[in-house]
Symmetry: C2
Subunit: 345 residues, 2 copies
């Protein structure tokens, strides 16, 4: 399908269309590979859901990857990127776990799964999978066992024949704090909880962190950063060395004499949980299913057919709506078109 | 793929999964067909993006359908549902318009397109398409020409050889008003603007309305209602005779002794612009990419592996994330699994 489109210029893409700034992407990937080389970063593919982009991360030395869904794990394995895959979420679905175990048995991937309860330990043990991390609650109200329970879960896992590679704990309540000093001290508090759990659990891995704490979390052995590759306006508000690489190309389809313009990029093309997207030269008035209504800034004179670049506030749920991302140079030439092939579950 | 899944019970579906309550869906479709029979309702498929569901609407007498994207129009035509398709959004994409013209030329569909500017009139005329509606701004800050410009646009369209079937105007600023009397009087104001435009434009069609105004908008000739089929918590807050038919089946994957539970239905499975979803027996604390964190209500004792039904606040951008919707009876037996085959653009 991508070949059939034969579109070589961003300006000719049917809209809305995901466009990646090749230079910003390369900058982001190179910056991370320099700061956290090799296994110090375990890129999280949930943020881009794209094996072609994961291949770029692996090519820069990050051979171990993080995934949020079994479909992501399977897709990465099939793409030959299965050296060391972590499913960083809990599941008790026997069919899905068996599917992952089959990948391992076939030699297609090494797969490690997060566990945080007796039920999840038992489900993994029953599946034939053999490696787990104990997921620990380090302050974010989501998954993870209490730090004091981690040792017991590790013991249960080992008694069931599982290898416990270590602990995992995501300081998700910290990664968005714009105050770097506060972000650092909050990370230290969270990682002290994880270290206490690690002392009981054992294993070599202390997996944690995200884009917002990639350079302040010096306590973990590997950082699960995802958003850094493409970035969004929420993370761009922090003092991070990563640039916004992702936007949604859209077309102005209506201009009102009352003072607004309408582009064809709406709620089905944008993750909205972090709020409205941003558009250079415009104030975003509101989004509806298929459109964004824009107020032109001083000097902006929109006309029907003009193109605008809509920059999402949250990259992950934006990418998940799209079938393909087009990687373009500064002149708007499309260098590559990458399927977003890890969508769904 | 659907066949290969061979899942016949909702309780065995991999999660998250879109589930449609067959009885509620039938009630909603029957209620609309009774209230606005035949061409009085032109169902909007953007709300469900599913040709199988559109077929149910056509079977109840609504042979004319509304679409938001060219892909929806093409998909409906290919499914044999092309009797009278309205693309209710403006586009100036020549390739897409030519694709629609080819459908018409092949006898696969009758296609009418919304226009609201000289540029959109000219684009449609150049494409070989032959039928338009003049889209009029009736108070919602989005597409639509000023009422006073509608006659001139119709004249331009006719001069370019187009047939002008009438006018269209969406009172989207009114449909969510919970006060029925206010909703009615606001609709009357909006439809007076549309009637004035219609007097200048001519043609038989006055296309307007939505689920929230389906029975108060007595001024239009056809209502473009979409959400009524599946419904969401936002529309359910109004005094409408439609029932919530859609939910996302999810699995509890983690339970914290601190008092919350986590289910595997997150931002990539839910449209979030109308706010958090709802879950019976729980308060929704927050959603993250892959999860919803839930506070159990009195008497709710969650366990890992339990199923919950997550009801979205906005149906359209929720459905657009999913590949399939499963239609189930009250006992949780899956009667049919319908591909969400009109996604994308």
């Amino acid at each position: 399908m991508l070949r059939a489109m034969a579109v070589s210029e961003v300006a000719s893409l049917p809209t809305p269309a995901l466009v990646v700034d090749a230079a910003a992407l390369a900058h982001n990937l190179d910056t991370m590979a320099g700061a956290l080389p090799g296994g110090r970063c375990r890129p999280h593919v949930k943020a881009h859901k794209c094996t072609a982009l994961a291949r770029e991360q692996v090519a820069r030395g990050h051979r171990a990857l993080t995934a949020a869904t079994t479909r992501e794990v399977i897709g990465l394995a099939r793409a030959g990127l299965g050296d060391d895959l972590l499913l960083a979420n809990e599941t008790v679905d026997p069919a899905r776990l068996a599917g992952l175990a089959a990948l391992v048995a076939a030699g297609s991937a090494r797969v490690t799964v997060a566990v945080d309860s007796e039920a999840t330990v038992d489900a993994v043990a029953a599946s034939g999978l053999r490696e787990v991390l104990v997921d620990v609650d380090v302050g974010m109200p989501r998954c993870g066992c209490p730090p004091g329970d981690a040792g017991g879960l590790a013991e249960r896992a080992r008694a069931r024949g599982l290898e416990v590679r270590g602990v995992m704990g995501y300081e998700g309540h910290v990664v968005g704090n714009p105050d770097r000093a506060a972000r650092t001290s909050q990370t230290e508090v969270a990682m002290a909880l994880l270290a206490a759990a690690h002392a009981e659990v054992g294993g070599e891995a202390v997996s944690a962190g995200g884009t917002g704490t990639f350079d302040v979390n010096v306590w973990c052995t590997e950082v699960q950063a995802g958003s850094y590759a493409l970035m969004d306006t929420a993370y761009a508000a922090l003092d991070l060395p990563f640039r916004i690489a992702l936007g949604v190309e859209a077309t102005i389809v209506s201009v009102s004499p009352k003072g607004w313009a309408v582009a064809d990029c709406g709620l089905k093309a944008l993750g909205m949980d972090h709020g409205n997207p941003s558009v250079d030269g415009y104030e975003v008035f509101f989004c509806s299913d298929e459109h964004v209504t824009l107020i032109p800034g001083d000097g902006t004179r929109p006309a029907v057919g003009d193109r605008v670049r809509v920059v999402p506030a949250h990259v992950d749920p934006t990418v998940a709506y799209h079938e393909v991302m087009h990687v373009a140079d500064p002149d708007g030439r499309i260098l590559e078109s990458w399927p977003v092939d890890l969508r769904g579950w």
